[in-house]
């Protein structure tokens, strides 16, 4: 019996050693900012492409420069895009992001090798405060169509930001799921409107552009309209639900869609989490190809320890 046990022990040890050496164990840590982290499962590798920590004392000079440039671009873009879309002037300033990070996630299952890009954006309180003020001014001065878009905006949480207020706001949004059939008519409508919307954007860009004669602008405008006209979008699934995570209450949204160009398509999936923190909002966006959706949805749920929120509105 003793000899038998010894042999069994040797076999067990050898098996563990072989399996241990054969399987690569990752369980990498992903930095979400505001002192929050998430660990990938043992078979998923996270490769950091860029990281800008939210804590200033943890940043290098290069990371400070990246953050400064990104914030300047964000403020400029927000000011021009918001004014263009909502027709109410903006004066955003300061920092939009407290930090951000981008990872490539790598995994494998029976289908093959899966990859995804995971971006974590730490939206500053400073920006949220300005956004609330802007939304309030749009709700006073904007058109009815624009007002409807801000129904679930930042201003719905009140005039100040805090983690508990933001969590309550996420709970208040009724969960919904739109299937491919339900989305069909909406997609048809969007694609009907899309050429005009894109044409307006190109016209606006050309109007602001300098260094071109009127004729050149007209020729370029015609060409750009032809190039953008075949762009279409399609969606097969859109959903939102408030969920419980290891960080507290969060909002989880999914968009499975494809971008089309004259019949050619690029099917993708986007999974987003909005996680309120004391210092600001963490926006987590995972981008992958549509076939890898199930794999990464399961992995992200595991990383965030997502469980259904039972008290959601019906």
């Amino acid at each position: 019996m003793k000899v038998w046990n010894k042999k069994m022990m040797t076999l067990a040890c050898a098996t563990c050693l072989t399996v241990g050496m054969g399987a690569v164990v990752y369980a990498d840590t992903v930095d979400l900012g505001y002192d929050q982290t998430a660990n990938t499962s043992a078979t998923v590798k996270a490769v950091a492409m860029v990281k800008v920590p939210t804590q200033m004392n943890e940043r290098t000079a290069e990371q400070n420069k990246i953050a400064k440039d990104a914030n300047k671009d964000a403020v400029d873009t927000l000011n021009s895009v918001s004014t263009f879309l909502y027709k109410v002037p903006t004066k955003y300033s300061g920092n939009v992001y407290d930090g951000f990070s981008l990872y490539q996630l790598q995994g494998e299952n029976h289908l093959g090798y899966h990859k995804a890009y995971l971006m974590n954006i730490d939206v500053s309180k400073e920006y949220i405060k300005q956004r609330i003020a802007y939304e309030q001014s749009v709700l006073q001065q904007g058109t009815e169509e624009v007002k409807a878009q801000f129904k679930h905006g930042f201003s719905s949480i009140g005039s100040e930001y805090s983690k508990s207020i933001a969590e309550q706001a996420l709970k208040n949004v009724k969960p919904y799921t739109l299937s491919s059939e339900e989305l069909h008519s909406k997609v048809v409508d969007i694609n009907r409107e899309l050429p005009k919307a894109l044409s307006d954007v190109t016209d606006e860009a050309l109007q602001q552009g300098t260094g071109l004669s009127v004729t050149e602008k007209q020729e370029l405008g015609t060409l750009l309209k032809r190039i953008t006209a075949p762009i279409t979008i399609n969606a097969t699934h859109i959903s939102y639900a408030p969920v419980n995570t290891r960080y507290g209450m969060a909002g989880k949204g999914v968009i499975r869609s494809s971008l089309g160009y004259d019949g050619f398509i690029y099917p993708t999936s986007l999974i987003g989490y909005l996680v309120p923190a004391q210092e600001g909002l963490i926006l987590q966006i995972l981008f992958t190809e549509d076939t890898s959706y199930d794999f990464w949805n399961t992995e992200l749920d595991r990383m965030n320890q997502t469980v259904e929120y039972k008290g959601a509105q019906k």
């Binding site: 920590p53 289908l111 093959g112």
Partner: protein, 271 residues
């Protein structure tokens, strides 16, 4: 017992009728190919992209800054190349869906005969090129040559996974600076460039095809600085004597099991 046989026969009959009607035909460079009705095929030469490219070249060529002989000649050649789309070459996207989501694969087709005529075969010094061209024009290989070709190609293929390191060797100082920059932005990236081929399926003849057709496939994983890009590539040579054509299909690795049988039937069905 008799009724069971009737049910089985009916099911088989319905099955075969459904299977027979389960295909749609599309025109490709080497001939008409079939795909299941659940798969949509988009052909680049049939889209608005072809005339748009044509007009874009003319628009650029008309600019006063592009009036030199070299630029005008370049524009002329570009227009000639665009006009060959759908004749000497084309690009197709196969689109489908299953329980895991929407699918897409790109298939590029190149008529080797037309291409060799364009690049003027006489200019190609390699005698093997003219021998290969003669074989393609004949559209047939005698069994000995065929076996020799299959053995020659397949003996070179890796067994299991093989990684090719294409990392550019940089001077140590630049390498150190570059690594320091990656670390400074909190990145795990590095200067590695590698291509791994694995699960290579050897060059084989597709039996039952109208033209002699040979196919080969592999999973190809690119590693650029630590980020990876996993693909599945599946190529075929369809020896239609009038249009000997090379097909190259590319899709992501996770769509391999969906597209592998579809591509096999696509190549096999060309007539």
């Amino acid at each position: 017992m008799k009724s069971l046989k009737t049910i089985v026969c009916t099911v088989c009959l319905v099955g075969s009728v459904t299977a027979a009607g389960f295909a749609q035909n599309i025109n490709t460079v080497a001939g008409v190919a079939s795909v299941p009705n659940t798969v949509k095929v988009v052909t680049l030469s049939n889209t608005s992209i072809k005339p748009m490219l044509h007009d874009a070249v003319i628009y650029e060529a008309k600019k006063p800054s592009n009036q030199s002989y070299k630029m005008q000649q370049g524009a002329k050649e570009a227009i000639e190349a665009i006009e060959q789309m759908g004749i000497a070459y084309d690009l197709y996207q196969l689109q489908g869906a299953d329980a895991t989501g929407e699918k897409d694969a790109i298939v590029f087709a190149l008529d080797m005969k037309s291409t060799m005529e364009v690049i003027k075969l006489d200019d190609v010094k390699d005698p093997m090129a003219s021998v290969a061209m003669q074989m393609l024009e004949k559209g047939d290989l005698d069994p000995i040559t065929e076996q020799f070709m299959l053995t020659a190609v397949n003996s070179q293929l890796p067994i299991g996974a093989k990684t090719f390191d294409l990392t550019e060797s940089l001077p140590k100082e630049i390498e150190t600076k570059s690594q320091a920059m990656y670390r400074a932005i909190g990145s795990d990236l590095n200067n590695t460039t590698q291509i791994t081929v694995q699960d290579v399926k050897p060059l084989t003849k597709i039996h039952g095809a109208t033209y002699n057709t040979y196919t080969i496939s592999s999973r190809i994983i690119g590693n650029t600085g630590g980020t990876f890009n996993p693909y599945y590539a599946n190529a075929a040579v369809v020896m239609n004597p009038a249009h000997p054509t090379l097909y190259l299909a590319i899709t992501s690795d996770v769509q391999r099991t969906y597209f592998e049988p579809i591509l096999h039937e696509f190549y096999k069905s060309i007539k």
